[in-house]
Symmetry: C2
Subunit: 343 residues, 2 copies
DNA sequence: CTGTTAGCGCTTTCAT
DNA sequence: ATGAAAGCGCTAACAG
């Protein structure tokens, strides 16, 4: 921009003091209507836009929050981001988007720069379960709330779904459909969320009297390509899973991709169930059976809770810890097992 | 945060002046090694994080850019956002994400707040073709570059694909597969990008001697649900399109959704081609034929161009206007027409 | 109801 | 090589 117009310029044009300009900008109650109009006129004529940076410095508030996601390309996060930014706009906050690609070093770096930029609060969607920095923030009373993320027995704020239960739901569904050889695409166990899903999977099988076949579980990093390759390899074996449970819909899509590449029909020859219920899952061309997370509700909640943390100073109340219920939604990708395989 | 630690605190702890602290923070060349170490120590011990807001106020730079998208839920934008934020992080910029839901009023509001927040530059991915505000920004020399977006004969910076040509490619592909009844999901003509696609579609048909059947084209707002309903209705008619061209992959998915709901097989009974080449299109379970946009390249370019606009003041050079070539990628959703329908 | 004044925490001359 | 001091454009007492 060129030599920007300041509130002083407005003031002198309107024949008032700069603080009066500030007052009308902030809707102070007791301003004479006529001077208010003079100021408003001057603002319009000069095309003045108030400098929020200076305002932030003086007021110690930025009306900006940070949103840290593991992968914005995962529709679950994109869909969540949409409602978060929408709600934020309503409440007059802006959001800085931080994409960590699931790298812990990026998480640290981003937290650091967000603190530097003096954001009013942070939403984290991929917090590894023992992250020291996040605990510190909480202890300092800095507004942070985890979204679809939890931490070990700590006092942190979070909103998530009952992941353990969700995973069990998935396992039981597959079992009822007569599947006994079940593949599993695990999430990184550094995240408590996916770790709980992993536990739910194992315990679920155990309760049904089935042993986990280690060869059937993928437990490396989140990577579409690697999951694709893993699945493909597995499907080629003489004894292969008749069903897959993937810890996210995104990964379930990778499984479907691999199945298609092997000309394996879903659900006739292979059942697949995901987790998240991304919009695409509803698409009848795909029809992914999945475990729902009430993402609209969750996303609205995080934003609201974060803002209340920022604006009221309830800081010392007990932590916000909300666990919502998951639900199974059966669509086309799961069906009764008809494959004779091993066993 | 609590009573934050300022550079003054660091200074007094290190026994130097605040400006020296500032110098080490900014890597000034001529500082005695010993004092540098003292300062660094003090910083570490105090856990000091420099206030970027104050820094911005003093330096008139925020190292923050705005990214305005029509819909972050559209994988094309999410995938673009990922590379943009990644590149931005490398170059030490942060990005404020603005999701307009394709509403022009939101675009205006967001531009306004971004200007207020004194961002160093803006990337816009959904600029309506006559937007006055954007022209103004350009005229003022404010760094803006449009991404996958263009404006009417104006001097604005943009990076996009040859949309007109891309659309023709799609039409010809369908024609070669012997389709004559072609449905079209148009994009809003307020965007020059989609408008050009619309023209390419029309001209493409014309050149092949085919009249556009108005009843076969959807030309309302971008809306998954409405496109779904429209397609569904159309597919029920005795004389229906044997193929659809959708102006975005996201909309192509809506068409596939509708086809599946009517139990119409793709591509045996209906061909579908999209535009964008989102990652999902490659998924062999879907295998969407589409027109590619080199999004990785485009996204890298916008960020780089924007930053060079910000950091060097080439402002007065000629506008950055880059048009890349689209490409057709055939996958599973298009095939030779075998349906006898009208004609 | 409005003006004056002192910061907010940095950067950036200008001295030394 | 480093310190002193003047802003950057606001907000927020404090007067009156």
């Amino acid at each position: 921009m060129k030599g920007t117009i300041s509130a002083y310029d407005v003031a002198s044009k309107a024949g008032v003091s700069q603080s009066t300009v500030s007052r009308v900008l902030n809707n102070y109650p007791h301003i004479k209507e006529s001077t208010k109009q003079k100021v408003l006129m001057a603002i319009k004529e000069l095309g003045f836009t108030r400098d929020e940076i200076a305002r932030s410095l003086a007021s110690k508030k930025t009306r900006t929050i940070g949103l840290i996601v593991g992968d914005i390309t995962n529709p679950f996060f994109a869909e969540s981001a949409k409602v978060i930014t929408g709600k934020a706009q309503e409440m007059e906050y802006d959001v800085i988007l931080c994409n960590t690609n699931h790298k812990e070093e990026n998480l640290y770096k981003y937290i650091q720069t967000l603190i530097g930029k003096r954001v009013d609060g942070i939403i984290i969607t991929s917090a590894d379960k023992d992250n020291q920095k996040i605990k510190e923030l909480y202890d300092q009373g800095f507004p942070v709330v985890l979204y679809n993320s939890l931490m070990n027995h700590e006092k942190v704020n979070y909103i998530a779904v009952n992941n353990y239960k969700g995973a069990k739901l998935a396992v039981r569904h597959l079992y009822q459909l007569n599947h006994r050889l079940i593949g599993y695409i695990a999430g990184p166990s550094k995240y408590l969320t996916t770790h709980l899903r992993n536990l739910g999977f194992q315990d679920g099988l155990k309760e049904l009297g089935i042993d986990v076949n280690k060869a059937f579980v993928y437990d490396k990093e989140f990577s579409y390509d690697e999951v694709y390759q893993f699945t493909k390899r597995l499907l080629k074996k003489p004894t292969r899973p008749t069903a897959f449970f993937a810890t996210s819909d995104q990964m379930a899509l990778a499984v479907l991709d691999a199945a298609a590449s092997e000309n394996i029909n879903v659900p006739q020859e292979l059942s697949v169930i995901g987790f998240d219920d991304i919009d695409m899952a509803k698409n009848q061309f795909i029809g992914l059976t999945t475990i729902t997370q009430p993402k609209e509700k969750m996303a609205t909640l995080v934003l609201e809770k974060l803002v209340s943390l920022i604006e009221e100073n309830d800081e010392l109340g007990s932590p916000i810890q909300i666990i919502l219920e998951p639900e199974l939604i059966q669509r086309r990708t799961t069906g009764v097992n008809s494959v004779q395989n091993g066993v």
